[in-house]
Homo-oligomer: 146 residues x 2
DNA sequence: ACTTCCGTTGACGTTAACGTAAAGGTCACT
DNA sequence: AGTGACCTTTACGTTAACGTCAACGGAAGT
């Protein structure tokens, strides 16, 4: 039992390793540390990211993808650590998630509106152009595969 | 012919009038002027917005609604003034519109992805909560009209 | 005269999530 | 030594579209 640690669990990552894996820049990871979202250890001067850091980073990036702010993400991650039976964390995550979901759906409505508005505007413009004897053919290869 | 101007055409607007009509702040109109998007005349110290200014403002706000930047809008508006038969303006507007449309559609794809991701995440969280004996009933009046 | 309303011109502040130097340390080659 | 790769900290810069003072002017009402 002199080497008890699970190799997966004890895995260490340098900053560039994580950067490559998640396609972010070192600046980003340092920024997240500064924002208290990550807490890498040090070995000499250098940061050593643990398996947990890696998992947290994954969560951070997923959170960003669905539009959470870093502050929101931090709040949820912090609660995760407190482990008061984890119920509080889950409830907060749920309520934040629902709020964000509503937000996203509102955005989608606005976006759809914008799209149809823009489509109509383009049609009008194209109408004005053809009226002036100018053709408006889209010459993209739209799906001319086979 | 001493009062030849069409009353509609010659209509003048003070800054707060336009602000009320379009629900923007004075700061916004001054900002647009500074950005060369509007060109109100002066009467003493005060700005006098013409019918044309009003029309331009309307176009600016519509442009914003579909996600154009003020710089883009300025470019299109400027071309409108040059009137080289208006063909150039229309072509530029069309191409910008198509580009923006593509952009919006990309956004919509990303947004839909985010929404489904978030929905699944919430389901997972809710599953974990009910597993712990906590109910997650949404107590909104969802559509309880009749 | 005093206040209130409407208007003016600067000019710095805000927000988020990093980007981008600047200046340097360590280690391995060569 | 020198070169290069990788790492560090500190700290100012970026972007968009205004917000928010500060300090002031002119007209109207009381």
């Amino acid at each position: 039992m002199s080497e008890p640690m699970n190799e997966e669990q004890a895995r260490r990552y340098t900053i560039t390793q994580l950067c490559r894996e998640f396609d972010v820049t070192p600046r980003t990871l340092r920024f997240y540390e500064q924002k208290d979202l990550l807490h890498p250890a040090r070995e000499g001067m250098n940061r050593i990211f643990s398996h947990r850091d890696r998992a947290r980073l994954s969560l951070i990036l997923r959170g960003k993808k669905v539009g959470f702010s870093l502050d929101d993400i931090k709040e949820m991650l912090d609660l995760y650590n407190l482990k008061d039976g984890q119920v509080t964390q889950l409830q907060v995550a749920r309520s934040k998630g629902l709020a964000q979901l509503e937000h996203l759906k509102d955005q989608r409505v606005a976006l759809d509106e914008a799209i149809t508005d823009l489509e109509r505007a383009i049609e009008i413009v194209e109408g004005m152009l053809t009226e002036r004897g100018i053709d408006t053919e889209a010459e993209f290869a739209q799906a001319e595969s086979a």
